[in-house]
Amino acid sequence: MNQQDEQVLTIFERSKPGRRAAVLPDAEVPEPPLEQLIPAKLLREEPPRLPEVAEPEIVRHYNRLSRRNFDLDTGFYPLGSCTMKHNPRLNERVAALPGHARLHPAQQPKRAQGALELMWLLQESLAEICGLPHVSLQPSAGSHGELAGLLLTRAFHADRGEARTKVLAPDTSHGTNPASVTMAGYEIVKVATDERGGVEMDDLRAKVDDEVACLMLTNPNTLGLFDENIAEIAGLIHEAGGTLYYDGANLNAVMGHSRPGDMGFDIVHVNLHKSFSQPHGGGGPGAGPIAVSERIEPFLPRPQVVRRESGNGSGPTYDLDYDRPKSIGRLRGFQGNFGVFVRSYAYILSLGADGLAEASETAVLNANYLKARLAEGRAGKHTPIAFDRHCMHEFVLSGKPMKKELGIATLDLAKRLLDFGFHPPTVYFPLLVDEALMVEPTETETKESLDAFAEAIDQILTEAEADPDKAKSAPYTTPVRRLDEVKATRKPVVRQPLS
């Protein structure tokens, strides 16, 4: 059936009074009226209007919805800075083991030794990969890690009796960086990008002073380029007394090849849902552990997972350490997104030292190959590479000539790609590149899928040379076509009206 002909109903619109799926256990205890147990004024009069649907209809409803999603298991997903690599199903299996899935977070540490050991092993692994000695697994996602890093920076300076006000970040930085800076109570100062795609050193020098608390950097940056001046940058910031923060969104480029700690960074967040194969789930869950240098360690969130050597030769034990007087405190409930830790640790075990290094090599090879394919022919003419040198794991095209010559915007190209069965690259980011398309193929794609993508771009541009309107009205074959986003914002309808 053509999905476009399908009538779209919500689960609430499928509701019929009296239908249900759940059968609950008997009470087994006395059943007095609730008013005898709880004062009437604290009780609800009308139950919430949840849908009334039998189980077969619930299953059909969500299966129907699932067919209206594109996903990584269906096709190529070259979303830049998002690292859409394969999600091994083994990881789902081990995360679902009852010893993990049904373990209460307040279980006594002595009865959760396996979980704490796993967390400690993951901390050690990430410390080695990042080249920094200490790790907290607590942050729930990348942006949460950023906030943690900025609060650590604040605590670090406060401990030295300083109150600095500014945080530097390049104009190519992820949007979460400046947003985190504001939440942490700092002022963001943008640093320009030079003609090779790195930090503009003169601009940086002009902006570094004793008010600078921190520089946030992604390396390789969002252009997919490694900043060759990183050692000098680190020196400048450290001399001025600031900390250096590494946004680990692009760590997939350098695993086993180069380590943020060795580059001079004090704090790194790692997106387990990017480099370490946690599925994205349509917008989470993820996890954003942070690795830090010795000077930042005293301030790490609590509790911290620690290993204690036993004196009696019975082997180490693992514990949660709350006794951290300089800690910034908690960032969330309990110990973090443990289910994500299980998946990522399974991934690290599967690949091992060589496998992780090879994953980064292949990610870089795939990106450069696809870049080379797109640098030639029509793509090279209409959507040239923004900074044309060897890239790391991703690269950025500019649709500016395409817009000028063919009259189609990057958005149109992206929408037309949907008809060819591809998820488009990240579009209109980084902001510094006009009509940007940011492409990250990852290591788990074959040469054939990269070729097919390059050919699709060529076909779309060929078609656009003859008939630009085709792309401007795309897509045609998706469950819905272009949606009115202005309406959704001007008069937002954010829930189902119910009578």
């Binding site: 949007g175 998706t478 009115d484």
Partner: protein, 441 residues
């Protein structure tokens, strides 16, 4: 591929990394393993945890051993929900976007507030996010009045965040298990951005939110209420008690315990706050052919558009966990959800009565409760817990660390999985443990 790139080796591509920064040795990690070996290794680790299949679990404190229906796993493990990114391309993400819209509708119904977001990380950080919102919504007020009945993790997280946004926090104590109303009224002033409550509170007591919230209304502060989503089938919802924001830990809805995460935080509010809300919100609209569809609405609030002026920094959140909740709530349905709430209240009443009849065990407070309650033990809590654990029972959550004034306190949680027989066993085990300790002393 190398030829197409014009290099002889992959190493050449890494030449942009300056030589001194290249790692000149392999990572000090183990070698890769086969799938079977990894499975065995992770199984060994899992076996060293006492999970809820091994122990009868009366632990709660925000996360509970509820039954997750099989269809939740079946649907959330589908590739189409498990493996996409955030729905930035709505034309090929209608499934996920509609699921968000349904989630928002369900959470809005539960809390009786008109606007729900697609979700945040988990409960405690949602409290901190509400505080951040309140600063903006009250034109820069930076003072929070927080009940000591709010989850300790939430209060600690708020304190961590507040150092960043430069806010002051005043805590109001509990009297007989409930927030001290007079002290609260006294603490709220014209500089207060929000009053933050939790109901049922951490000791399990149901607060009179409406009465406590009057002080917030009087001074133009927001009323923020953390709630347990499994109790809203029976308890008066925050939206009917004057709450401006209702939020909470979503784990009880369709999410497994997972030693604390991933779960999700729900976040609901009044219409006036919609443009200040954190994170994703799905909205209904039409496509160019007039077909019904869904998009991420009000994206100009968000970090990827507004950068430093965004309402929050959150990007990746907990979409799959919110989907699990949506399915669980549809499975329970209107009647099932209410019945489950009633079941919890009645079994909890039974457990409370049963335990309070045990010599050496008494109620910590007499306030009404829904699904969790606190007792006081006539013996050191840790040793009692140990004796119960030896009998295969996780008897509850010790209050001493976070409430030093209740060093002898134990918090006991009930779910639909805790049978009458298990509750009787708990009473018996607690009685025996307290008696044994009395003899030991």
């Amino acid at each position: 591929m190398l030829a197409a790139i014009g290099v002889d080796s992959v190493d050449e591509l890494f030449a942009q990394v300056p030589e001194p920064l290249r790692l000149d040795r392999p990572l000090r990690l183990s070698e890769g393993m086969s799938e079977a070996e990894v499975y065995e290794r992770l199984t060994e680790l899992a076996a060293r945890n006492a999970d809820c299949e091994e122990q009868v679990c009366f632990l709660g404190a925000g996360m509970y051993d509820h039954y997750v229906p099989a269809i939740v796993d079946a649907i959330t493990q589908r590739s189409e929900f498990l493996t996409p990114y955030t729905p930035y391309q709505p034309e090929i993400s209608q499934g996920g976007l509609q699921a968000m819209f349904e989630f928002q509708t369900s959470m809005s119904e539960l809390t009786a507030l008109p606007v729900a977001t697609a979700g945040l990380y988990e409960g405690p950080s949602s409290v901190a996010s509400a505080a951040y919102l309140a600063i903006g919504a009250t034109k820069g007020r930076r003072r929070f009045v927080v009940s000591r009945g709010v989850h300790p993790h939430s209060r600690e997280t708020l304190a961590t965040y507040a150092v960043g946004f430069g806010a002051e926090i005043e805590e109001v104590g509990l009297e007989d298990g409930l927030t001290d109303a007079a002290a609260l009224a006294e603490a709220v002033d014209g500089e207060t951005a929000a009053v933050i409550l939790q109901s049922p509170n951490f000791l399990g007591s149901i607060e009179d939110v409406e009465a406590l919230g009057a002080a917030a209304k009087q001074h133009g502060a927001l009323l923020v209420v953390a709630v347990d989503p499994m109790t809203l089938g029976v308890l008066r919802p925050p939206g009917e008690c004057g709450a401006d924001i209702a939020l909470g830990e979503g784990q009880p809805l369709g999410n497994r315990l997972d030693f604390g995460g991933p779960s999700f935080g729900f976040f609901c509010g009044s219409e006036e706050l919609i443009r200040k809300m954190p994170g994703r919100i799905a909205g209904e609209t039409d496509d160019v052919d007039g077909r019904r569809g869904f998009v991420l609405a009000l994206q100009t609030r968000e970090q990827h558009i507004r950068r430093e002026k965004a309402t929050h920094n959150i990007c990746t959140a907990q979409a799959l966990n919110a989907l699990a909740a949506t399915i669980h709530l549809a499975w329970l349905g209107r009647e099932g959800y209410r019945e489950l709430g009633e079941l919890l209240v009645r079994r909890t009443a039974y457990a409370r009565e049963r335990l309070s009849a045990v010599p050496g065990v008494e109620l910590l407070h007499e306030a009404p409760v829904a699904r969790e309650f606190a007792v006081r033990l006539d013996a050191p809590v840790e040793t009692v817990l140990e004796r119960c654990a030896e009998r295969g029972i996780a008897a509850g959550y010790p209050l001493g660390r976070e409430y030093p004034e209740h060093e002898d306190g134990l918090l006991v949680a009930i779910t639909e999985r805790r049978t009458r027989a298990q509750i009787d066993d708990l009473a018996e085990a607690l009685g025996a443990a307290v008696a044994a300790e009395a003899v030991a002393v």
